[in-house]
Symmetry: C2
Subunit: 335 residues, 2 copies
């Protein structure tokens, strides 16, 4: 139940019934390519625009997760879903034909952490037996929404990240499975005054550091208790800040830290600069690579900490800072 200041330790365990990762061509060509369930070569996914393409990725990811979990859409009692687009239109047009109750979430790139947290709470409490947690991002819709439409051919600074095109879906279930969600730590918004929307790693690192610190405090454990502490999309710039902030607070996570944004592309050959980003970055890395490591018993226990940069073009253009948020989920391999 309530554990420390910001955490929950689940009494009745929720399990990952199944999960899926659907990605674009660039992600498939990266170092984690072989771990993803499906690659969509056409960035438009047969649609007329980036936004509807993103919705198709969500639909495809959820469909595959349901198939892998051997359940049907009507067995899902709730969907927790969100994306990066203004007013969640990626999610809306993905889910409008599903007859499943939807809770729309916005946590920027931390959305999969938020969705898994709420899905686990709802399943553990007995409100539902099967719940979907879905998120997506798309290079085309994100660049158009946040920065410059791809068609402008704008030059990207070295600290900028590359939005992952794809979608990850998880089915959280009351039925026993190989991987359980042991607990969660929910993050607060942290604002360190970063104003550069091209340097989101720096904006998100304090929120990640804060929620990891709180997790270690609430569960009274050391970083080594986790085989990996996996942040979302801090990139190389944010990783350095994260490790330093936690060292200042007497926790050294350098040996167990991994960042999905750093792993998903090979900067040398793929020219992605500071790494990958977007809601899908952490979602597909966990659903593809991470879950496989747990299933193969390479890892027994991990802390998944996707990170979100809370900005819009309006807040950016009005000179606001970029606050960050991060949500932590403890995933554990069943013995």
């Amino acid at each position: 139940m309530q554990q420390g200041k910001q955490s929950v330790l689940f009494e009745k365990t929720p399990y990952i019934r199944s999960c899926s990762s659907v990605v674009g061509k660039k992600e498939a060509e990266g170092p984690l390519g072989k771990y993803f369930d499906k690659v969509i070569e056409d960035p438009l996914f047969g649609q007329q625009n980036w936004e509807l393409a993103e919705s198709r990725f969500q639909q495809e990811a959820l469909t595959i997760a349901l198939e892998k979990g051997k359940i049907k859409e009507d067995q899902l009692r709730y969907l927790f879903a969100g994306d990066l687009q203004g007013q969640l239109v990626g999610t809306t047009f993905a889910m409008r034909d599903m007859n499943v109750p939807v809770f729309g979430l916005y946590g920027a790139c931390s959305t999969m952490g938020e969705a898994l947290s709420l899905a686990s709470m709802v399943v553990s409490a007995g409100y539902a037996d099967e719940v979907g947690a879905v998120t997506s991002s798309h290079l085309g819709s994100a660049e158009k929404n946040f920065r410059y439409p791809l068609e402008y051919g704008n030059q990207r600074p070295k600290s900028s990240t590359w939005t992952v095109t794809g979608s990850g879906a998880f089915i959280v279930s009351s039925s026993q499975g190989s991987v359980r969600i042991k607990g969660i730590t929910t993050g607060v918004i942290k604002d360190y005054g970063i104003k550069d929307s091209m340097n989101m790693g720096a904006a998100m690192a304090p929120a990640a550091a804060d929620v990891i610190y709180q997790n270690l405090q609430d569960f009274d454990c050391q970083p080594e208790e986790y085989d990996k502490i996996i942040t979302g999309d801090l990139g190389t710039v944010g990783q350095e800040i994260l490790i330093k902030l936690l060292k200042d607070n007497h926790y050294d996570i350098s040996k167990v830290h991994m960042d999905c944004g750093i792993e998903i592309y090979d900067d040398k050959s793929q020219d992605t600069h500071a790494g990958g980003s977007g809601c899908a970055c952490s979602a597909v890395t966990l659903a593809g690579y991470g879950m496989e490591q747990l299933m193969k018993k390479e890892w027994n226990k991990i802390l998944f900490v996707p990170t979100g940069a809370l900005l819009s073009t309006v807040s950016f253009n009005e000179g606001q800072t970029v606050p960050g948020i991060a949500h932590a989920v403890i995933l554990e391999r069943q013995a």
Copy 2:
């Protein structure tokens, strides 16, 4: 626990500890003016832009709700909060100085239904004892985000609604109070193919009809069991559609239906056309007028059904439809 297809009946009852409504001048001059906690005459609330003004409304509403509930910010275990702005910047900049874990929600104008639903689930399950549910909207930020900046002096069609400037906040608690949340019914996305972003009542009515129908089915009751069935912001256009859709399905809610969008302004003297809208419309009407009727025992049991139109300027400009969503919350006066 799980009740029927889409509902939850709470075993351990969550209560409304306190609530608050903060509104702008126009809302204060409307028929419900005397019920609101605080009126902010300056539409900018001392800020430099509409977006930060909206954040100030949220902060003020939460502060008043905490004061009325006689608890401090650090007693809140979670905040469920959202607004209409792209990437929830209204909520981000309202909550960034609070050291409370935040779940960001987007359900368009149904957000208070979504927030109260999740807050109740979390409190009833024992994950938290005190949880805040907050939402806001602002005429200035909404018109800029969705339609035309106010400065353009654009003419509004008769079916259009007026975005409520304000914020409503509720503290959902495990401690016994006068009004309890008996259950919830969570809505699915409904798309009837409406493409007119100036006719949101018609876009949302099917979603409202669907969730009300499901609530009556799941709890096996008739509309008269509720003293009021209160929708969010269907306006006069949407109300007619809602009543007809439910009549077609053998439920007559005409005697008990009330729409916050219709009640909050006097169209004759305030020139608001089809009524009020925005996340704050239903939130302040419930927190102000609705809760007072329950406290005075004018009403014993109501169904609160805020309604959301799921669109963005991008989806609208790309010719998409406007799907709707609605979430229902059963509020009951303790005997």
